[in-house]
C-alpha cells in the first residue's frame, strides 16, 4: 500500500478571535447599511406585530383584573369579554394563526434577502478563504451579523409594537389605564419579542450562511462582480 505522508507543518494555526469577528461583522453591517435595513425591515415589522399583540393582551388582562368598573365597561364596549375570576385572557385561535403566519413570512423574507446578500459577497467570501479563512470563520461572521441585526431589529420592532399598543389603549380606555398597567409584564413581553426576533434572524441566516461557508474558494472567485 502506498504510504500516506502526512506532513508535519510547524505551529499550524488559523484563527479569527471573537472580538475581531464582531469587528468585521459590525463593519460589514455599517457599510451595507441599506441592505441591512431591508433585511431588518421584515424582522422589525413581524416583531412589532408580535409585541403589539402581546402588550395589548397584557394591558387588557390588567384592566380585567382590576376593580376599575369604568375601564372594564369600556372593555366590553370594545367587544372583549372579561373572563371569569381566576381565568387568564388568551389569544384567540385566529390571532395565533395570524401571528404564526407573520413570523413565518418574516423568516422566509430573511432567508431571501440573506441569500441575495451571500450571492453579493461571493467574491469577498472567496477572497477571505484564499487568505486562509476556515469555513467556520465565514459561518461565524454571518451568524454574528444576524444576531446583531436581530437584536437591533427586534428591539426597534418590540419598542414600536409596545408603544402602539400603549397609545391604542390610551385612546380606547382613557388615561386611567396607565395606573393599572403592570410595567413588569410589558417589559417581559418586549423582552420575549427581542429573544424571538434574534432566534428568527438566526434561523433565517442559517441556510445562506452554510451555503457561503461551504463554498470552495475557486467557486467564489468565479462569482460575478
Amino acid at each position: 500500500m502506498q504510504e500516506k505522508t502526512k506532513p508535519n507543518l510547524p505551529q499550524k494555526q488559523v484563527v479569527l478571535p471573537f472580538k475581531k469577528s464582531v469587528e468585521i461583522a459590525v463593519k460589514s453591517i455599517k457599510s451595507r447599511f441599506f441592505r441591512t435595513l431591508i433585511t431588518t425591515m421584515s424582522l422589525i415589522l413581524a416583531i412589532s406585530f408580535y409585541a403589539y399583540i402581546k402588550v395589548n393582551l397584557d394591558i387588557i388582562s390588567s384592566i380585567a383584573a382590576s376593580n376599575d368598573q369604568t375601564a372594564i365597561q369600556k372593555l366590553s364596549l370594545q367587544g372583549i369579554e372579561v373572563p371569569e375570576e381566576g381565568r387568564a385572557l388568551g389569544l384567540s385561535p385566529q390571532e395565533r394563526w395570524i401571528l404564526f403566519l407573520s413570523l413565518l413570512v418574516c423568516v422566509v423574507g430573511i432567508v431571501n434577502t440573506q441569500l441575495m446578500a451571500v450571492a453579493d459577497r461571493f467574491r469577498e467570501i472567496g477572497t477571505m478563504k484564499c487568505l486562509g479563512a476556515l469555513d467556520r470563520f465565514i459561518l461565524r461572521l454571518f451568524l454574528i451579523e444576524a444576531v446583531l441585526q436581530g437584536l437591533i431589529g427586534s428591539a426597534l420592532g418590540g419598542a414600536a409594537g409596545a408603544v402602539i399598543a400603549f397609545l391604542g389603549a390610551l385612546i380606547k380606555y382613557g388615561s386611567s389605564v396607565i395606573g393599572l398597567i403592570s410595567l413588569n409584564q410589558i417589559l417581559t413581553s418586549v423582552l420575549s419579542a427581542i429573544v424571538l426576533g434574534c432566534l428568527l434572524s438566526i434561523v433565517g441566516v442559517l441556510y445562506p450562511a452554510l451555503l457561503a461557508a461551504k463554498m470552495q474558494p475557486v467557486e467564489a472567485m468565479r462569482g460575478r462582480d
Binding site: 457599510s31 451595507r32 477571505m128
Partner: protein, 226 residues
C-alpha cells in the same frame, strides 16, 4: 446542470525553484487557470500531486489547506479582490489576523508593507477611493502579509492600463529579487515575459515548451497590442 468530466491537465511535470519568477502562458481553455489553481491549493487534482516544500498539498485536509493559503501562499487576482468594506490597511492585516499575529504588530507590519508598495499615505482609504493600480498594490501588500514562500498572480495586469501594468510588474520583480519570493503568474501580458526567469507555454493541458529568459525573443512591436 449536468456534470461532464473533462480532463483538463494531461501530464504536467513541472519543477519551480524557490525565488524564481515564472510566467505561465497559454490560450484560454488551455488549462492555465486550472494548473494555477492546483498550484495554489484552490483546487485538488483528481490524480497526481502538487508538492510545496516537500509537502503534498493534495493530501492536506481543509484546516491544513487554510493554513497553507494563509502562511505559505499569497494570491493576486486579475480583479484585485480587495475586500470592499475594509480600508487598505485592514485588507493588508486580515491575513495576519488569521495567522494569529497580535494587533499592534500586524498594524506595524501592514504599514511597512503599504510603504513598500508606495501607499503608506492612503492606508485609511477604502477600495472605491483607490484606482485600479492602487488596489492591485494593496493586493500585493496583502499577498506579502505573512511572508509567503510563493506569490500566485492570476493575470495581475489584466485589468490595468499599460503604464500601471508595467509598474505592477516592476514591483513584483523587485519583490521577487529583494524578498526571494517565488512568483508564479498566469498571464497574457507580453510585458511580463521580459522580467520572467522562465516562461512556460501551455496548450491543451500539456506543457508545450519552457523557455528561459535568454532564449526569449520578444519583438517590441508587439508589445501593447493585447
Amino acid at each position: 446542470m449536468g456534470k461532464a468530466v473533462v480532463q483538463v491537465l494531461k501530464g504536467i511535470d513541472l519543477d519551480i525553484k524557490a525565488g524564481e519568477y515564472v510566467s505561465i502562458m497559454g490560450p484560454s481553455g488551455s488549462g492555465k487557470t486550472t494548473l494555477f489553481n492546483m498550484i495554489g491549493g484552490l483546487d485538488k487534482p483528481s490524480s497526481g500531486s502538487v508538492y510545496i516544500d516537500e509537502i503534498d498539498i493534495s493530501q492536506l485536509d481543509a484546516y491544513e489547506l487554510a493554513w497553507l493559503r494563509c502562511r505559505k501562499i499569497g494570491y493576486i487576482f486579475q480583479t484585485f479582490n480587495i475586500i470592499q468594506v475594509m480600508t487598505a490597511l485592514e485588507n493588508v492585516t486580515l491575513p495576519m489576523v488569521f495567522a494569529g499575529i497580535p494587533d499592534d504588530e500586524a498594524r506595524e507590519r501592514g504599514m511597512d508593507l503599504l510603504d513598500l508598495v508606495g501607499l503608506k499615505k492612503r492606508f485609511l482609504h477604502k477600495p472605491f477611493e483607490l484606482s485600479g493600480g492602487q488596489q492591485q498594490r494593496v493586493a500585493i501588500a496583502r499577498a506579502l502579509a505573512n511572508d509567503p514562500a510563493i506569490i500566485l498572480a492570476d493575470e495581475p495586469t489584466g485589468n490595468l492600463d499599460l503604464t500601471t501594468g508595467e509598474e505592477i510588474i516592476k514591483l513584483l520583480k523587485l519583490l521577487s529579487r529583494e524578498k526571494g519570493v517565488t512568483i508564479i503568474s498566469a498571464t497574457h501580458d507580453l510585458k511580463m515575459l521580459n522580467v520572467s526567469d522562465r516562461v512556460i507555454w501551455i496548450s491543451d493541458g500539456k506543457i508545450e515548451k519552457i523557455e528561459k529568459r535568454e532564449e526569449l525573443s520578444i519583438s517590441l512591436g508587439r508589445i501593447g497590442e493585447k
